[in-house]
Structure formats: structure tokens, C-alpha cells
């Protein structure tokens, strides 16, 4: 049992890493032959990096687009980030003081994340515009996240899992001798679904996270009158200035 779970976890992590690396390699292999930042854009590389940062941390464009969606999306993503941070204590041997301190916040974040997800799911059915562009896959990802969240909250509040055993199991993977997986069904479900989530990231819309970093409309600085950027494939064109 421990061995199977460990193998799945390692496999999923490998798929995540390899899949993402492959995807990013594909993106990087293609040039950006022209300057296409959405204007107004910062004039420097540093400024453009700040712009991407603002999008990543504050969802700036989404804020301008749709306030309720921004709130729900923030609740979910921020909640998820805090929950993941809280999960660190299952892998580090001696949790540092800050990690201990944020545990209550992390539990609250779990609820925040669930509330956000429920809103996102409801929207998919209640807003006609959104329902129109929703496919099975869009709902499936939300349901998967909700299931992971629910099973997680259940183990936290109702059917407590032996945290120390979980920790022992996870650290045992490092030694390539997995052991001691707690046999609680809820926890096992939680773990299995999380493994599934990791594995599908590179093949699903969850790619939006790295996508933002590589999006030329957001990460390009505005400097086209100063810099030329002929792509390699364009240099063969006849005429001046290549």
C-alpha cells in the first residue's frame, strides 16, 4: 500500500515536472517575432517583470474586468496557496516557528478556497455567457479540486488522520523505503486525488499558471522604436533591414 502510493506520487510529480518542462520548452522554442505588449506597457524589462508580478499576485487585469470573479478567484488561489504552505509541515522534519504560527490561518484558508471554488462552479452554470463556453473538462477540474478540498477538510475536522504517520510516510519516500501510510479512506482519497491533480497539470487548462509568465502581451516591455527583434525565420525575407 505504502509502496503503491509512493510510486504514484513520484510518478505524478515526474509527470508534472517533465510535462511542464516540455511545454515551456515548446513555448521558448517559438520566437516572438514582433513587439505586442498590450499598451500602455512599462518601458523597461524590470517594469515588465513587475507587471507580470502584479498580474500573478494581484490579478490586476481580472480586477478591472470582473469584480465578483476577482473576489472568488482570489479566495480560491490565495486559499490554495496558504493551504499548500501549511502542508509543508508534513514534509519538513522540524517545522520552523512561522510554519507553526500559520497553521490556524491555513485552516481558515481551506474554507476560503472551498468558498471560492463553489462560486466558480456555480458561475459555470448560472452565468449564461460562461455556461456557453464551459466544457466537461472545465467542470471536471473544479470538481476535482472541490473533492480534494472536501476530503482535506474532513481529515482536518472530522476524521482525524494520524499526522505523524503521514509525515513519516512522506519522509520515508526520500529514503526510497516507503512505509507507514495511514490506512484512513478519506486521507487515501485525498492523497490519490491530489496525485491525479499533479499529473494532469501539464495537459490541462491548469497550464494558465506558467502561461501568464510567458504571455508576450504582458511580459514584453514597450521599446519597439529602440530595439529591433527580427526572428530567425524572418531574416530570410528579401529587402532592407534584416
Amino acid at each position: 500500500m505504502s509502496a503503491i502510493a509512493a510510486i504514484l506520487l513520484v510518478l505524478a510529480t515526474a509527470m508534472l515536472a517533465a510535462g511542464l518542462a516540455y511545454r515551456v520548452a515548446l513555448w521558448l522554442a517559438a520566437p516572438v517575432p514582433l513587439s505586442i505588449p498590450t499598451m500602455p506597457a512599462p518601458l523597461t524589462r524590470g517594469g515588465a517583470a513587475m507587471r507580470v508580478g502584479r498580474e500573478m499576485l494581484l490579478f490586476h487585469s481580472l480586477f478591472r474586468a470582473d469584480k465578483p470573479l476577482w473576489v472568488a478567484s482570489m479566495a480560491f488561489h490565495l486559499g490554495l496557496a496558504l493551504v499548500l504552505l501549511r502542508h509543508l509541515r508534513y514534509v519538513v522534519a522540524v517545522p520552523p516557528a512561522w510554519l507553526v504560527a500559520i497553521q490556524p490561518v491555513g485552516r481558515l484558508a481551506g474554507w476560503m478556497m472551498m468558498a471560492g471554488l463553489l462560486f466558480l462552479l456555480a458561475r459555470r452554470f448560472l452565468v449564461p455567457r460562461v455556461r456557453m463556453v464551459t466544457r466537461t473538462g472545465d467542470v471536471a477540474v473544479l470538481v476535482l479540486l472541490l473533492a480534494i478540498g472536501t476530503s482535506g477538510l474532513v481529515t482536518t475536522y472530522l476524521l482525524h488522520t494520524d499526522i505523524l504517520a503521514v509525515k513519516a510516510f512522506l519522509t520515508s519516500i526520500w529514503r526510497a523505503a516507503p512505509e507507514g501510510l495511514p490506512p484512513d479512506p478519506t486521507f487515501l482519497l485525498h492523497l490519490l486525488l491530489a496525485i491525479l491533480l499533479l499529473a494532469i497539470v501539464p495537459f490541462s487548462k491548469l497550464l494558465h499558471a506558467p502561461g501568464l509568465v510567458f504571455s508576450p502581451t504582458r511580459n514584453q516591455p514597450d521599446g519597439s522604436r529602440r530595439y529591433r527583434r527580427p526572428a530567425r525565420w524572418a531574416r530570410t525575407l528579401a529587402g532592407g533591414g534584416q
Partner: protein, 496 residues
């Protein structure tokens, strides 16, 4: 399409709620297909190639290798719908395929089917589709209902730009022999003659002479409209509409008066007698590059020191953002000036250092508002600071007229609405679509007309001006309301 009557506008912008969905509402709106000769002139297959389904997929594969943006955009959409109600064509028609995300999905479905694991395994559950006649017809219909205005990309949390997607789709359609008549015919004319109108050198010279006489008569000053003058300081590249149509030509007179009063020597070129570059609309880098070369050739040939662009939105996008890459480097020009410059930058600087003097009283009685052209607002800049494309035109207008009013903030600056005629859609076979697409702008205009007494709307784009002259009457406004920005400037310059 004869007269299409749009339903009445609301009184205030805020009252215009997102429309109810009307599936298929614009399924009938398609531009004329290019004739074989139009396609061949650009090196595209004359007619639908036999194995077009396979060729379309292959072309998509090529484009994916040429453009990171396309790849990232096709991979990153989460179907959040933040963009859905931001498109003027969706607001004006209610057709769900005019939601930017749905428009993207028309191309994304083919991408998912052939280039992603999920699409190959799960098919339509993740929105994957095969290329077939039905999909191609949807492409032709709805990728010609996008003016590539980039408004959706402002609001998308990942900056996904539907303009890039519809350019790619049009490029694929050209590659299989399904071109759009309007754009391809015009690009052919530029390659052959040098401008969109197909106006040869003698006719152009004639027109400019006529303008010199007109201005002399009106102002008593011998304002020149030089053509092909070697050794002039400035090469002015302007949309060919400026040579003829109203209100464009009043803008051209305005530029001439600015140069005249400031004592700047300038010239037009009969070889590069067009600022517009419609190759942008069909997504073709090669065609865009070819058209841009004419400007380089003219600059070299005439030995000018600076290049200045007249009022045209997409032309300024190509000029500001692409020209350096397409036809640079410009090391043979005067390094004291950015290359290229916008005429508004020139005029703004001249006003600032009193190189020209404007008299607001010459425009007495006018209350003017300004339509930010989509390509200028979201794809270019003017001046030294980000956002100069919003500030400079407004400052120039304020220096030229007694009263200026801005429209609703959700419809200006980078949130401006497209006029509804950009992106290669400024053709009479799409008139119903154009009228419907203009609705959000007309809505905002109505508000300032009724509440603040606006009499004129200034524009800095040939397409906007033509489009507004056509659609203003449909919404009960006089067509003379739309004016060239440099028409106001020209009027405020007192000569003689």
C-alpha cells in the same frame, strides 16, 4: 445589406447591460470571398486546395512554430469569461460566438484536436474538433467579426489577445485558398501601385495641386503639398484616404499647415503613398514586411531625415511597434528624432515650444470629444511616457478648441471601444455588423452629446473616420460630427 436599423440607444452608458445571448444572431454575416486573382497576387492558392483539411492543420503547425504568443494563448485560456462581455461585437449583436473566448475556441478546437494530448484522448469533452466544412464556415464567418482591437486582451488575466488568434486563423484560411476579398484586393493594389486606393502618381500629383489651390483660396497662404521632393527633411506617410475623402482630407490640410507654419520641409512619396498596412489584418508577416519595404525604399531614395506618420490607427501600430523590425534599422536618419514619429507628436512638440500658434476662437462653438482608436490606444504609444497616446492627442485638441469633454471612462483610454470597422471589416458587405459593432461607442457618444453638449468627435484613424461617417447617421447623429484631429488644428492655425 441595405439600411439596417439599430434599436434605440440607452441614455447612459451604465444602463447598457450585457446583452442576452442570441445564438446564431450573426451567422449570416460574411464578407465576400476573394476571387482567384486577388489571392494569386499575394502568392496564395487561387482556390480551395484539394486536401485543405490537412493543409489547414499543417499551416497551424507552422504558425505555432513561428509564434510563441499563439502557442501560449492557445494553451492558457481557463474559460473564465472575463473577456466575454468586453467585445463590441458581442455587445452589439448578442451572438455568443462573438465572445472573445468563443471566437478563440473556434481555432483552439482544431489546436486541441491535433496538438494536445488531452484533445486527442478526450475529444469534444475538452473542446477538440476536427477540421471540416462546418468548422471552416464558422471560421470564415466569425474571424471576420473581429476587428483585432485587443480590448479583450486588456481584461484577460493572461493577456490572451484574440487579435493574434484571428490573424492566425485568417492566415490559415489564406493558405488553403479561402481569402477575404476586401483585404486581399487592397493589399494587391498596394503591391502594384503603392496605395489602397490604387491612385497612380499623376493622379496623386494632380490632387495635391488642387489642394494647394484650395488652401491658397481659403487662407491666402501658399501652403505646399510636396510630392517626391528629394532632400526634404520629413517624409510624411499617410493613409491614402487623406488624399480624397471627407473628413480625412481636412486632416491632411492640417498637417500641411503645421509644417508650413513651423517651417519644416517635408514631402509625400508616390512610391510609399500609403500608411495603411492591411497585411496586419490577414496576419501575414511576409505581406506586412513587403509593404513596409516601400517606406524604407522611399526614405532612402528621397534622402529624408525623419519619417512621420499621418492619422491612422492600425498604420500607427505597424509603424510604432513593427516598422523598426520589419524595415529598420534606421541608422541613416537623423538620430535626434524617434523613428517613426506620429504627426500628433510633431504637432504637440511644436505647440509646446511655440513653433506653431493655435487660435481656439477659430473653432468657436465646437465642443469636442475624442475617440481613442483601438490600435493607437492598446498597441502603440506617443511621446516619452507610457500612456502618451492618450495624453498627447487630448492636449493638442485642447489647444485647438474652446471646449473638450471626455466620454465615459469605461470607453476611453485603453478601455476604448473599437469603431466597429477595423481589422479589414470596413467593407459594405459587412455593413450590418459594422453598425451593430459601433453601438458601444455610439452609446457613450450619446451620453456626452445629451449631457454635455458635445458637437464633434475627433478621430485619428482613417478607418474610424470612414466608419463613423457611415454609421453615425444610423444612430441619429449627423455624419459631419466626426472630424480629423488635424482638421481642428488646421482650422486653428491662422495663416496669411
Amino acid at each position: 445589406m441595405s439600411a439596417f436599423e439599430p434599436p434605440p440607444l440607452a441614455d447612459e452608458v451604465e444602463l447598457a447591460a450585457p446583452p442576452a445571448l442570441v445564438p446564431g444572431a450573426m451567422a449570416h454575416s460574411r464578407p465576400y470571398v476573394a476571387a482567384p486573382a486577388h489571392n494569386q497576387a499575394l502568392g496564395f492558392p487561387a482556390e480551395r486546395v484539394p486536401d485543405w483539411e490537412r493543409r489547414a492543420v499543417e499551416k497551424l503547425g507552422e504558425l505555432l512554430e513561428r509564434s510563441r504568443a499563439l502557442r501560449v494563448f492557445l494553451d492558457s485560456c481557463v474559460k473564465c469569461g472575463a473577456c466575454a462581455d468586453k467585445c463590441h461585437f458581442f455587445i452589439g449583436t448578442g451572438d455568443p460566438n462573438n465572445m472573445p473566448v468563443a471566437r478563440q475556441d473556434l481555432l483552439r478546437s482544431l489546436y486541441r484536436r491535433h496538438f494536445t494530448v488531452a484533445g486527442r484522448l478526450l475529444g469534444r469533452h475538452v473542446g477538440a474538433r476536427d477540421m471540416d466544412e462546418a468548422l471552416l464556415q464558422e471560421w470564415y464567418t466569425y474571424f471576420h467579426q473581429c476587428t483585432q482591437c485587443r480590448r479583450c486582451s486588456v481584461f484577460c488575466p493572461f493577456g490572451i489577445d484574440t487579435a493574434e488568434i484571428s490573424m492566425a486563423a485568417r492566415e490559415i484560411m489564406d493558405a488553403i485558398g479561402l481569402g477575404q476579398k476586401y483585404s486581399n484586393e487592397i493589399i494587391g493594389k498596394v503591391h502594384k501601385i503603392g496605395n489602397n486606393l490604387g491612385l497612380p502618381e499623376p493622379a496623386l500629383a494632380n490632387t495635391l495641386e488642387g489642394l494647394e489651390e484650395d488652401v491658397l483660396e481659403q487662407s491666402g497662404a501658399a501652403v505646399k503639398f510636396p510630392l517626391d521632393v528629394h532632400g526634404a527633411d520629413v517624409l510624411l506617410v499617410t493613409p491614402s484616404a487623406d488624399f480624397f475623402a471627407e473628413p480625412h482630407v481636412d486632416g491632411l490640410i492640417g498637417y500641411a499647415k503645421v509644417f508650413h507654419q513651423a517651417g519644416i520641409s517635408w514631402t509625400l512619396s508616390s512610391h510609399a503613398s500609403e500608411a495603411a498596412n492591411f497585411a496586419l489584418f490577414i496576419g501575414s508577416y511576409e505581406q506586412m514586411h513587403k509593404i513596409a519595404q516601400r517606406i524604407r525604399q522611399a526614405a532612402v531614395e528621397l534622402g529624408v531625415k525623419r519619417i512621420v506618420f499621418g492619422e491612422c490607427g492600425h498604420a500607427w501600430r505597424v509603424a510604432y511597434a513593427f516598422l523598426n523590425t520589419l524595415a529598420g534599422p534606421w541608422d541613416f536618419l537623423d538620430p535626434a528624432y524617434p523613428v517613426p514619429q506620429h504627426i500628433v507628436e510633431v504637432t504637440h512638440e511644436l505647440i509646446r515650444r511655440r513653433g506653431i500658434v493655435l487660435d481656439r476662437d477659430a473653432n468657436a462653438g465646437k465642443t469636442v470629444t475624442f475617440h481613442d482608436s483601438c490600435n493607437v490606444a492598446r498597441a502603440s504609444r506617443m511621446g516619452d511616457a507610457p500612456g502618451g497616446q492618450f495624453v498627447l492627442p487630448r492636449e493638442v485638441i485642447k489647444a485647438a478648441v474652446p471646449s473638450f469633454v471626455d466620454m465615459h471612462r469605461d470607453t476611453t483610454h485603453d478601455r476604448t471601444f473599437c469603431c466597429g470597422g477595423g481589422g479589414g471589416l470596413l467593407t459594405d458587405d459587412l455593413l450590418e455588423l459594422r453598425i451593430k459593432g459601433a453601438r458601444p461607442r455610439m452609446q457613450a457618444l450619446k451620453e456626452v452629446v445629451e449631457q454635455q453638449g458635445v458637437t464633434h468627435m475627433a478621430a485619428i484613424c482613417a478607418i474610424c473616420k470612414t466608419q463613423f461617417a457611415k454609421v453615425l447617421p444610423a444612430y441619429g447623429f449627423p455624419m459631419e460630427m466626426v472630424v480629423s484631429l488635424h482638421q481642428l488644428v488646421g482650422q486653428a492655425i491662422r495663416l496669411g
